[in-house]
Every structure is written in structure tokens, then in C-alpha cells.
Amino acid sequence: MHSGYEFGGPQMKNVKKSRWLIALFALAAVAMLAVACGGDDDSGGSTSAGNDKPLVIARDMDINSMDPSRAYCDTCQIYLSATYDTLIGLDPKDNKTFIPRVAEKWEGNADRTQYTFHLNKKANFADGTALTATDVKWSFERLANVKGSAAYFMDGITSIDIPDPQTVIIKLAASDSSFLAKVNATYAGIINSKVAAANGATNGKDADTTDKAEAWFLKNSAGGGPYTLANYTEGAEIRLARNDKYWGDKPALKEVIIKQVKDAVTQRQQLETGDADIAMQLDPDTAKKVNNKSVTIKEVPSFNFVYIALSPGAKDNKIDLNSNIREAVRAALDYDGIIQVTLGGGGKKQAAAIPNGFLGTKNLPLPKRDLVKAKQLLKDGGQPNGFEIDAIYPNVNVYGVDFNTMMQKIQSDLAEVGIKLKLQPVEFTVWVAKIRGDGIPFTAVYFAPDHTDPIQYVQYFGMVPGSPWSARAGGKATPLINQAEVDLSAKALAANSDEEREKLYESIGKEMIKDAIHLPIVNPNLELAYRSNIDGMHYSACCNLEVARLKRK
């Protein structure tokens, strides 16, 4: 019944009849093209708008909270430094010197157990009310009591006294020369206690269960910083509006938008087209290839680093990772080659698990490739023919370093001395479960500083009681302890001068090299990539980027 030629044959010659179909198709195509080409509203180029035109920062955001007492991330530092004032600031010129902010002056006692801050009378919040010592005390107590990730900044405080609205006296249980660095950190930003309390926040001892303000902070800021939060859309943008009541130097830009842009390639595209004014995570390879007059690229040293960690005490470790073996791994790695492959050469070698630029790192010996030495060390360590080991690492791309690329290079480097790596990239949550559980014999991770004091590296990487890596390297029951590091860090915390501290931290650095648990691979450079009409672009050790310092030329 369906004989084909009825329609398939003769009638088909009647082409005219289907012309309308072709026309329809053409219409659809034209409509799409019109969408593509037309209406090119010129948003870039015109400088007449100047500082009134919103500044766009392209960034892959890692926000874990918008609540200053609970936040703990790189993007949080940018956001918090814009919306909350800290007691003291950091001079962006050297990333070391503290400068007055809410506190116009401050002093510490001789053994670094007490600090006194004198607040500026002019300091106020975005709602116009005065910022007083009460707010400082309240904010610090809340930071400690909600027991978030940055709560440890307030560890060791025995009392906060406020004799008058402009004076804060903080007493510590033990010497802590790093306390100023912690107070400078963005997480110690001062919250408008009345406003926050009215929205469910509390500084009480039980704040970890009774404080209900975290959701409120997603839509509001309650600080006295140069900007206020205008809008936050998770996964899309943070929109900051200038705080017109700001008591300090008025920021130039009226509006600043941090946009979620996942990868470096897209960030570069947006920067080059002018859709973004600043691209924050260009890797050196990508940045080097930008050839565009309206874009400026500046490569600066960073305080981040990527390292390999060897844990002889990890539970399922079958290889005796003695110090000879660990040193053999160190000597077998082609550091320059790795830096070339991962960052196109845009990074530096690093000696110990304290990044270049921190106190005491100047004279530490950098690692070098020496295959003969590596083979000898393997022999001395009892593995003359090398061995096979799983390398379990988080599958991430940070500071421009793609871990898969890096580990493939490391794999081929180590193969030259007979060490066979089996690469196992895993999700970060899986990695954390493993490292918290049984430990991982061979892994690779990254680190960015919480504040500007080198003590954080001893507390995290050092073989000292309570440090995460001491338990990971030695095993939970038998944490590795290096008594020299314990003693030296106690001295450093009580030291009163930077010269003295520098010497102590250098000795600590040498001890950490001797531990050979962490083998720093690279200290990646940071690319400041921005439209050439932007002024004041910088990299800040406390805050990543202080948006208040930016303006259009």
C-alpha cells in the first residue's frame, strides 16, 4: 500500500512548492545572525565614564562563607578587606610593614604577651555609627566562639579589656610575636556588633550553636570598610558599592564586581575584550602570550607554593621511606623542567616549606637535580633498583599549576632513577578523607598563607606537637617530632626584633629541609593582569587584592 514512488518520484520535480521551506530556513539563519552581529552596544573603550563605570574582576571564586567570622578562602580575603576594616593594615609596597587603620597606634610588651591598640576617633561603620572598642572585642570573641576555620587566630587570648571606647588591651597566655599579623588578617575584620546582633549574631561562648547569622551575611555586610555588599549571587558575582560614609581615604571606584569565571583562558578572553578589567588567575604561560596594548601584565613573586609530601608513617605504605629515600626523590626531580612544563618558567624554586619572601628564607639552599646522588641515596636507603608507589593527589589546577601535568613530569623524572609512580588524581574531598584517615605515602598539594607571619608554616608543616603534618608523616599514633623545631619556634614566638626572628626562622627552615617530609616543587609567580587604564594594581600578602586601592587613570 505504501508504494514509494507516489511521493518520492515525479512530484519531487515540483521544486517551487518547497521554496517557502527554504525561505523559512533562511529566515531562521538570518535571525540568528542578527542576534550575533546587531546591537553592539559599546560598553568598552569610552573613558568618559571613568571611575563611575563598574570595575570587573574575573576570578574563579572559592567562597566558603560571606560571614567574616566563618569565611576562610582567597576570595573571602578580597571581599572582607573591602567591606570590613581591620585594626591594622599592611603596606602593599613591601607586604611586611603594618600601617595604621582603625588603630592609629599600637604597642606590644617585651615578651609579646600583651598588645594595646588605640583606636581612631573618626572610625565608623557604613551605617554611620561609630566604631568603638566594644565592636572590636565583640568581633574577636565571635571569631573565636563560632569555632570556624579562622578561630585559631584568637587562640591564646586570656582577656580583652576595653578601658575606654578607644582602647583595646589584649592579653595572651603565651608569647606570640605573630599576633599583629593575625590582627591584620581580613578574618579579624571588625563587625558592627549592633547590626549583626540584631540579625542573629552573637559573641557568646556557645556561638557555635546559637549564632544564626551566617545566612544573613550572604546578602549583607556589616562593616566599616571602603565598600559595602550590594549583591551576592552564589556562583555568579559579588557586587560591591562604594561606602560613601567611609571615614578614611575615599575609594575611587564607585562599583566593583567580582565575576565568577572558571578558567584562565576565559579570564584572558574577557580581559582582552574589555569585559573584565582585571583577570586574577592567569597562569604565566597564558599571560605571556597576551599581546594587547590595552592590557598590562606584570609578573610578581607570590607567597604560594606547591609541594610533594612523603609520609613514611602512612598506614598503607609498603615502602620504607627513610630519609635517604626521601632525599633521593628530592635529588631526582628536574625542578627547572617542572617549572618550565607547568608554568612556562614563571615560578621559582623553593628551599623549605616556608615560601620565598618570608622572614628567614633568604639564605636557605635551593634543591638541585643530581641523578648520580639520587641513585647513591637509593642504594644507601636500601632500594638500589627503585620501587613502585601510588601518588594520590587532588585533581586541581591552582596558581597556574595543573597537577596532572606536573605529576606526569614528576613521574617521568623519577622513572629515570627507577622510581615508578602510579598517578591517582582524586577529588579534593576524597584526598582529605585519605590524608585525615590513614595518610598518603606520596602526595602533592599546595599552600597559601593565612597571614604574614612565618610561624604558620611551623605550625602546619613542622614536626612539632599538634601540627597536622607531624601526625601525617609519622602516623597518628607515632607523630614525628623534631625537638629542634619545637625549641626554635618557642623562641621565635617570644622574640622581639625582626633580626632575631629572621635568624631563628632560618634555623627552622634548615631543620625542615633536614626533615625531608615536604619537598617544595615551585613557588609560582603571580600574574597581575589588568586593563592598562587601571591604576594601583598590586598583590597583597594579607588580602590578595585591596580593591579600595584601585582606580581608573
Binding site: F25, K53, N64, S149, A151, A236, R436, Y460
Partner: protein, 337 residues
């Protein structure tokens, strides 16, 4: 029919409970650490912080208790707070669903329009070069990985040629229209803001083309097939015999009947796209359900994973039901049992 639909509807909560249970078991037995989403890795050896976090996020109770609490809250309409976004999961889904729906609708619009035209052309000029080109174009779309197409289209049409705007839903500096539906194209029209509408339309063009192209092939092939079948039916022959023009035969007689099976495939494609736009969303920086699903699973954000699973399940079950019912309405020979 009525009892059948009723039974299917009544079955839904049971299925959803099954879905919730499976999602719960699967996501909780994963050997990964959900705490790493709420506590910095550096502080995970700090017992005070860890204990506080476990208590706050309900991870200190045994798994069965957690399950009971979750289901109880769910019955009250509370989907919990996301570990990652710190927002109520229902709010998260409400924020993100319109984004995906907008993208999906736009993709379907492109896929249906072009698929229809290609399918008709292919059927009318069967086995000619038009048919072959249409087939090739349609098959190309469903043969390319969307993440690859997306990356290349962005590179060519945004970075190189500048014909289309880049990732995102609007110009980076623009402010979105007041929220009514959450879909920028619709909301801007409702607000009478043509500039924003045009901006949103330009931004949705590339990602929706990428997605639309991927399903275009199915639609055009189906249109072609059912049109060919219809064109051989008696009533079409009668229409022709009456001396109607070929155009009116196709439009008034053939197409209307040929479209019925196409409707069902549109429904299915819609359900697939809503949860399947994962990679397109992340490449084009669209904060929709797909990227939410991936980010949540990466972070092992239990409440969010459960929320997405429930939403996906509801969409799937409803489209399934609607599709089955359409079949019945269309073809009385099919009985539902």
C-alpha cells in the same frame, strides 16, 4: 485512564523516597570527607573546630539518625542548608532552576525550529542532496562533545571574531532585571527593558545553540520519518487528489499529524537537558542546576546532592507521565495498564 494516572501520581512519592534513600546511601558511603567543605583542611586536625562543625552540620549523629532527620525535615518542606553555599537548598534550587529552564527552553526553541525545518526539507526532498546535508548537519550536532563545541565556539565567535558576547547571562557590568520568573529574557520583557532583553538574548545564543544542536538531530530525523509515513496515508492522497497545492497538503494535513510523535521526544529532550546541561553551564558560566549538581557532588555537599536528586527525579517522573499520557491521547490503540 483516570485511575491509571492517579496510580502513577500516587506512586511518585514512593519513587521519590526510594530516590532519596539511594541518594543518601550512595553519597554517604563515598569514602570522602564532607567536613573538608565546611572546615579548612588546615583546621581538620583541630578537635575544637572539627567537633563544632560536626555538630552544626549534623554529622555527629549515626547515619540512620541522620537519615530519619533528613526525611522528617523533608516532609516539612525543609531541604536543609547547603554545606557549600550556606544557603537553604530550596532557595539555591529556586535561584538556579530558572537559569537552567531558560537555557533549556532557548535550546529547545532552536532545536525544534531548525529540526523541524530540516526534517520537513529532508522528507519533502527525500534522498536529494538536501536530505543528505540536513542529515549530516543534524548528526554532527549529536556527535560532538558539547564541552568541545562550547569551547571552540567561544574561542572563535567571542575571543577571535567578537560576534557574540562571552560567558555569563548578561554584560558583566549590567544588573539583572527584577526577579519575576528568574529568566532574564522573560523578566526584562516584563519590565519593558528592551536593552537588557537584547543583551540577555545575545548571551543565550551560543550556549543554547550548543545544546540545541545536540538534540536537533533526533528531532529532525523523527520529523522526517513521521512526515514520510503521513504523506502516504489515504487522507493525504485524498487531499492531493482534491487538487490542493503541495504546500497546503503539507501544512494543513500532513504536518499536523506528523508532529504528534515529535511532541513526546521534545518532552524527553527537555528532561534530559535540564539535568544534562552540566558542562555547557560551567563553560558558559551559567549558574544553573547542572553546574550546581557538579559543584555539590565535588564538595560532597549532602543536602545539595539530595536536593538536586529530588528535583531531577520529579522532573523525570513528571515528564515520563506526561509523555505516556500524550501517547494515549494521540494513539487510542495504546492502552495503559
Amino acid at each position: 485512564m483516570g485511575t491509571y494516572v492517579l496510580r502513577r501520581v500516587l506512586m511518585m512519592p514512593v519513587l521519590l523516597l526510594g530516590l532519596v534513600t539511594v541518594a543518601f546511601i550512595v553519597s554517604r558511603t563515598v569514602p570522602a570527607d564532607p567536613l573538608s567543605t565546611v572546615v579548612s583542611e588546615r583546621q581538620l586536625s583541630n578537635p575544637v573546630v572539627v567537633h563544632a562543625a560536626e555538630k552544626r552540620w549534623g554529622l555527629d549523629k549515626p547515619l540512620p539518625a541522620q537519615y530519619v532527620i533528613y526525611v522528617r525535615n523533608l516532609l516539612r518542606g525543609d531541604m536543609g542548608t547547603s554545606f557549600r553555599t550556606k544557603q537553604n537548598v530550596r532557595q539555591d534550587l529556586e535561584d538556579r532552576l530558572p537559569v537552567t529552564v531558560e537555557l533549556t527552553l532557548a535550546s529547545m526553541a532552536i532545536a525544534v525550529t531548525v529540526g523541524l525545518v530540516l526534517g520537513i526539507l529532508a522528507a519533502v526532498r527525500r534522498n536529494s542532496w538536501v536530505d543528505h546535508v540536513a542529515r549530516l548537519f543534524a548528526l554532527f550536532g549529536s556527535s560532538l562533545p558539547v564541552f568541545w563545541t562550547g569551547l571552540f565556539l567561544l574561542y572563535i565567535f567571542y575571543a577571535r571574531l567578537g560576534w557574540f558576547p562571552g560567558p555569563g547571562r548578561l554584560d558583566p557590568r549590567a544588573v539583572g532585571p527584577d526577579k519575576v520568573t528568574g529568566m532574564y529574557t522573560v523578566d526584562s520583557l516584563l519590565a519593558g527593558d528592551l536593552g537588557t532583553f537584547w543583551d540577555a538574548l545575545q548571551h543565550i545564543a551560543l550556549p543554547s545553540f550548543v545544546l540545541g544542536w545536540a538534540v536537533m538531530g533526533i528531532i529532525s530525523r523523527l520529523v522526517r520519518a513521521s512526515l514520510l509515513e503521513v504523506l502516504n496515508q489515504d487522507y493525504v492522497r485524498t487531499a492531493r487528489a482534491k487538487g490542493l497545492t503541495e504546500r497546503s497538503v503539507i501544512i494543513t494535513h500532513a504536518l499536523r499529524n506528523a508532529l504528534i510523535p515529535v511532541l513526546t521526544i521534545i518532552g524527553i529532550s527537555f528532561a534530559v537537558l535540564i539535568t544534562g546541561a552540566v558542562l555547557t553551564e560551567s563553560i558558559f558560566s551559567w549558574p544553573g542546576i547542572g553546574s550546581y549538581a557538579v559543584d555539590s557532588s565535588r564538595a560532597l555537599d549532602f543536602p545539595a546532592i539530595m536536593g538536586v536528586s529530588i528535583l531531577g527525579g520529579v522532573i523525570f517522573l513528571v515528564t515520563n507521565l506526561v509523555t505516556d499520557m500524550t501517547y494515549v491521547l494521540v494513539d487510542p490503540r495504546i492502552r495503559l495498564s
